[in-house]
Each structure stands twice: as C-alpha cells, then as structure tokens.
Subunit: 422 residues, 2 copies
C-alpha cells in the first residue's frame, strides 16, 4: 500500500501517496471550510480570504510569493467551494519544502494590508462581472437559489458586489481564526513524495497552530425547490432542472451516479441520444450529481435556441417519466458502471486528482476509501435501485432556472415545471 496517513500533535492530518515513477509532486492543504460556513453578513468571505492569502504576509510580498514558487518551475493555485478551500501546488521532486513553506506562510501570517485589500476587492468585482456574462453561471446560480433559498449553500461562492465591498481585515482574521484550525485541515500529496519527510516539514511549519474553540457554523441544508428566470438576452436559452439528491456520504450517491451516467452522462446516455443524436435539438446536454455533507441535487443542463426549447423540454419530460417507470436495461446499467469504474482508475493516474481525492476522503470519512471499496459500491447498484431512485427523484420537488430567452424564459420555465408535475 503506497498510501500513508499521519496525524500531528495538534490534529492536522498528513496523507501521501507515493508514485515512484513520477518526477513531480502534487501537494496541497485542504481546509474543511467554505461558502456554506459563512453567516449572512459573511457572504463571499471564504473566497475573499483565499484571494487575500496570496496578497502578502509579514515575510513576503505578493510578488515574492509568486516569484518563489515560479522560480522552481512550480504552480501555486487555490480554490473555494461550498465546503472546502484548497491551496495546492504542482512542483518538481524535491521542492515540497518550498511549496509547503509558502502555503504555511500565507495561511498563518497573512498581512491583510489595506491597499492590497482594496485592490483585491476590485479584482473580485471583475470576477463577479465575468459570471454575469456567462449564461451557464447565471443559470447555476439561479438553480441553487431555487433549490436552497435563503441558505448559504444556495448562494454564489463569490459573494455579491455589496458583500465583497463590506469586509475589513478584522472580518477576515475572525473567519480565519474560527474556521482554519488544524483539526479541520489535511495536507495531501501524491507523486514523487516521501511521507516521513513531508510529515517533518508539516510538523515544522504547522506544528504551532492550535484550534480555537470553534462553532461549526454549519446549518443543515434544506432543499426547497422553485422556479427562477433571467430575462437577460443571450443567443442561446439555457434550461437547468434540479431535484433533491443524496449527500455524498449517503450510499444512494452511488445509485445517483449510476443513474446520471446512463441518463445524461456520456454519448450513449438517453438524453444525448434522444435529444442530440436523434433530434439534433442542442449541442450541449448532460446530467450531474452535486453532493454536500447533508444534502445534494441531481441536475440537468441543456442549451439551445429558443425555437427548439419547447421540443427539448418535452423530450426531457418523457425521459424523466420513463426512467421512473421502468428499470434500465442490463446493457445500460453495465455501461454506466464501466464508465464510472474506468473513470476511477483513470483519475488514479493523475497525481493532482489523487492528492485531491485523498484529502476529500479524510475530510469526509476520516479515512481513505480504497478503490476496491468504491468499485464494489458501484457494482452493488441494481437496475431496480436505479428505477426506484428515478421514481423518487421526480416526486421530490422541482427546481428550474431558464436563462437567455428574454420574456420567453418564464414561459419555458413554466413548461418545464408542468411537465414533471403531471
């Protein structure tokens, strides 16, 4: 077994997967905190904090941070999601100390200087503006708002121009202190990495970090559902449909993935075949599963011209009903499972995907799940499980968003909502 896990005295976990044939390392620190842990007046602070981490510490300016990692040919990046925030690097063998040293500094000694904060606000306002130019982003933001209204899990991760403009250095420090405790962090690395050496680095760089007494700040997510529309005109209309789905901690999440694969996953899926291949009704159509610790959503996304939208909605409606009425064929079930299992194997060949998977397993399950375990759970899903899942899904309360058709957007949204209700 090439995977090793250690826990520092302060609770911070270190996990590595040695891939001896590689010359590079993917390494990062994952924190079990994200946009869902923000109070109403903190909306967007997780993401701002992630940005501000790169804007200078007591020892390094923003420019020095960038130069130090790029001097060794490394790449440093970060990402904020609903439940996690990750700071990660890809580097050459032997440079783990450089990457982890920078990550340790930017998370423990950030300066949060006033000019840097003002500058970065402006950067994020532009990042938010870019999402307003993307019908996909508008559609997903509206869908999440419909599914989880007035909850942190239903809000855009970037925050709003107003909220981003309101935060002070003190707000950032308080959020950091409350959520970035060592018990809530995992350092994960895959590739040409030696476990013991990385643990020594971690001990030296993070050993002094202590957990403040912290509130979890995590309220249960409650799926509600509803209809949202944007009349902003685009060339294409986007239709997004959501249903309450399982948490990623739920065994049913595997059923959801098998169903999503055969319903709207690859080229052989029902939606791709019926909507695109047989009828030419769109370029892009697919289904997704989105999981949280305690909730989830099954989603469908299609984009096409307004003139084809009604026909497209009707085909999706027929397919949703059919999925709830009868189990998939043995061939469909086999194909979806084969794709899921091959995808697991393929992801193991990427050091960055491995490092991320290990961190997520530890944050979610407090242990690393083996690939064999995951495959067995995929294999255990039956055709009847899939039918029952689909039948329950469409009873669960619909969320719909439509973007891009001007005034016709509302009409399309209502048509989509009706079809599933009947």
């Amino acid at each position: 077994m090439s995977i090793k896990v250690s826990t520092l005295g302060n609770g911070l976990r270190v996990v590595t997967d040695n891939m001896p044939h590689l010359e590079t390392v993917s390494l990062g620190l994952w924190v079990g905190t994200g946009a869902r842990h923000e109070s109403d007046r903190e909306h967007g602070i997780s993401h701002l904090l992630e940005h501000m981490a790169f804007k200078g510490t007591r020892q390094r300016t923003a420019q020095q941070i960038a130069e130090e990692i790029e001097e060794v040919g490394g790449e440093l990046n970060a990402a904020t999601s609903m439940e996690t925030t990750a700071y990660y690097a890809r580097i050459l063998k032997g440079d783990e100390g450089v990457a982890l040293g920078i990550i340790a500094d930017i998370l423990q000694n950030s300066a949060f200087g006033r000019p840097e904060l003002e500058g970065e606000r402006q950067v994020i306002l532009q990042e938010i503006a870019a999402t307003r130019d993307s019908p996909d982003d508008i559609g997903y933001d509206l869908l999440h708002d419909a599914a989880f209204p007035e909850q942190s899990v239903g809000r855009p991760i970037l925050g709003t121009p107003e909220s981003v403009s309101s935060f002070t250095a003190g707000d950032l420090k308080r959020f950091l202190g409350r959520r970035y405790g060592p018990g809530n962090m995992v350092i994960s690395a895959a590739g040409a990495v030696r476990h013991e050496k990385l643990v020594r680095h971690a001990e030296a760089l993070f050993g002094g970090l202590t957990d403040e007494k912290r509130t979890t700040g995590e309220r249960p997510a409650k799926y509600v559902g509803g209809v949202r529309v944007s009349e902003k005109p685009f060339e294409q209309s986007h239709l997004l449909i959501g249903f309450p789905g399982p948490s990623y901690r739920d065994e049913a999440f595997f059923t959801a993935q098998v169903f999503s694969g055969l319903f709207g996953g690859g080229m052989s899926s029902r939606l791709f075949q019926e909507v695109r291949e047989k009828r030419g009704l769109c370029y892009a159509i697919y289904s997704t599963t989105w999981g949280l610790r305690d909730a989830g959503m099954f989603g469908i996304h299609a984009a096409t011209g307004a003139g084809l939208m009604s026909q497209l909605i009707d085909v999706i409606g027929v397919e949703l009903k059919r999925a709830g009425d009868a189990p998939p064929t043995a061939a469909e079930l086999q194909r979806s499972k084969a794709q899921l299992k091959a995808g697991l194997l393929m992801s193991l060949e990427s050091s960055s995907a491995r490092a991320e998977q290990l961190a997520r397993h530890l944050l979610t399950h407090n242990r690393v799940l083996s690939n064999e375990d995951l495959m067995a759970k995929v294999d255990a899903v039956s055709a009847e499980d899939v039918r029952d899942f689909a039948a329950e899904l469409i009873e669960g309360g619909l969320s719909v968003s439509v973007v891009g058709s001007g005034r016709r957007s509302r009409k399309f949204a209502e048509r989509a909502a009706e079809l599933v209700r009947n």
Copy 2:
C-alpha cells in the same frame, strides 16, 4: 527509450510510448488537415466532417458507436483545429483494438446519411450560437480576422451558419478523399500499450487505405493586422492584442515562449503583477503564443469593466515598450525557463498529453523530438534574444479587437492601437 515508431506500407505512421506503470491507454489518430485546408466555399467542412464521423457507418449506427466504446468504460472524442483533426480515446489496458476499430470504421466507412446530416447541422448551428454568447470567442474570432483577413487561417473553425447549411454528403466525401490520406495520418498511443500489437491492429484496420493524388490545399498564411470591434454589450470589456509571431517550426518560437512566460504567463509575470496585483485592474490577463506551420501570432488578452479599460490599456502599453527597450533580468529569464521546462516534464506524466505530443511531432517534424532537445532550446534563449524579440514584435503591425463595451469599444480599440504606434 520507450518510444517506438513504425510506418505501414501505405505511409501511415504508428508511434507509441509504453508507460508500464499505467492501467490505461490514451490512443488516437491525428490527421494533418484542418480548417486552413478549406477553400472559401468549404469554410467549416473540417469540423462538420469530424462531427459526421460519429453519425454512423455502413456497419454501425451513431448509437452503436457510442455504446461500443462506453461498454468498455472508454471515452471517445474528437477535435478540429487549424491544421489538424484528431480522433482519440482513453481506454483500459487491452481495449486498444476496440477503440482503434471504431476510429478506423468512422473514418473509412462513414455513411453521411441525409437525416443524420440535417440533424448534425442543427447541432453545429447551436455550437456556433454558443460562441456568440462568449465574449472570449467573439474577441478571438475578431482578432484572427484582423491578423489574417480573407484567409482560411483567420476564419472561425466552426464555419458560419450559411456555410454549414450548404454542405452535401458529396462535399464531405470529396474533402475526406482529398485530405485523409494515410501519408497524412499518425496513430499515436501512450500508456499501457504494446507497440507491435498496435501496429498489427493498425495494419489490419488501415492497411487498405491508399493516398489519392492530392493537392496540398495549403496557401501560405500572411499576417496583415488591423482593428476589429464588436459593440455587443457585455458586463465586461475584452481587449485582445496581437502581433505577428514565429511559426512553431521556427527556432524563435522558443524565444516567444520564454518572453510570453515572463511578460504575461504566470503569477510572477509583468502583466499579472503590474495590472492585477499592483493595480487591481482586472481578474484575467495573460499573453499567448499561437503557431502555425508558416506563421504565428503573439497575443494578449484582458477583460475588465469599461471604467478601468483606459487605465489597463495604458499599463499594457508601458510594459510593451519596456520589454522592447531592455532585456529581462536574469531572475525573470530563469523563472520563465523553469516554468517552461517543468511544464514539459509535467505533461510527460499524462498519457493523453504524451500521445498528442508524439503525433504532433511526427506531423510537424517527421520525427519525435526528445525532451532533452526541447529543454536545450529553451535554455539557449538569452536575455538579449528576448529583448530583440519584443522590440521587433511591436514593430510588426498590430491587431486589436475589443468586445463588450457598446459604442465605447471602438474608442478603446483606437486607444490600444495608438499606444503601441507611438
């Protein structure tokens, strides 16, 4: 050396790179043909042909093609660029025959049925509509039109709604016959693949293919330059600037890459530091090198609010002049080279990137360049080379496109054009 190359009797080349630690294979067929080989009335036919390949053969329906590859957990995809068209798969070890069998069938026995052609036209019209919703796509299309006007290399690869609507099955067959000869094809695979076995598969599946006497259909690309504007309103204004750059076959292409890295590549680059980090003038800004067999372009892309655009243009202007006036510092040069070389190493760890690189080397250079060769060429670039490159660049005739600011777009484009002229 794990790389092996064979040539079939008809001239088709097979290249493999065995990566014994992997459980999967990335495999594909690259054809040395793309959008630049289209006559004026063929605009978009390369891309339509790539789509129609998946729409059924004499032996298989579109659905059977999709099912056959996904049954073994594989993924099959294709992409059309200016000079190449690729059909590629990612599969589990041992399934090379399945993937190559499908690729052989769809390239040699496509049915081009009338209902399939009508349906796929509609799909591509939606794909084109999606690009009209993307300010990035609009900006790049306009920039390429300004740089290479009235030439196939300056046109959108997808074609226009009119051209895509005009093609018949006969047009597709003629283009296929003219461009898809075995001497113009490379089968490339990396991962858990055995060379001799793949060559046997290739011989059995493609051995009967012969080259028609073919015209090259490739006219020299001629950089012209100019200004293009879209007044379509978006939240953000996009500014794209282009200069004539070297072909990827030119030694100067390495100088262009080193310059691009330190000028607008990573986080430590001049544009990122001066425009984003110090002034907060945008979220996204970067430079690129784009190469063809006989021409190229160096590009800059930034997106920001209209209110910040004039200031952003001025900073880019200052940085362009500075780059032509003085060589970069030793530290800048070293960082850019380190990033390029690390990027080369990292790409070798991905089987799909390796397979693509091998195919491109054979199509471009008729041999596989070693990583050591590539690194030595990067190392050979001097600070003076970079300064001379930058000085020559800004003399070479500007292309500008601006998108998203309504009537102010033209004003911004003119300001950008002026700055570099002075």
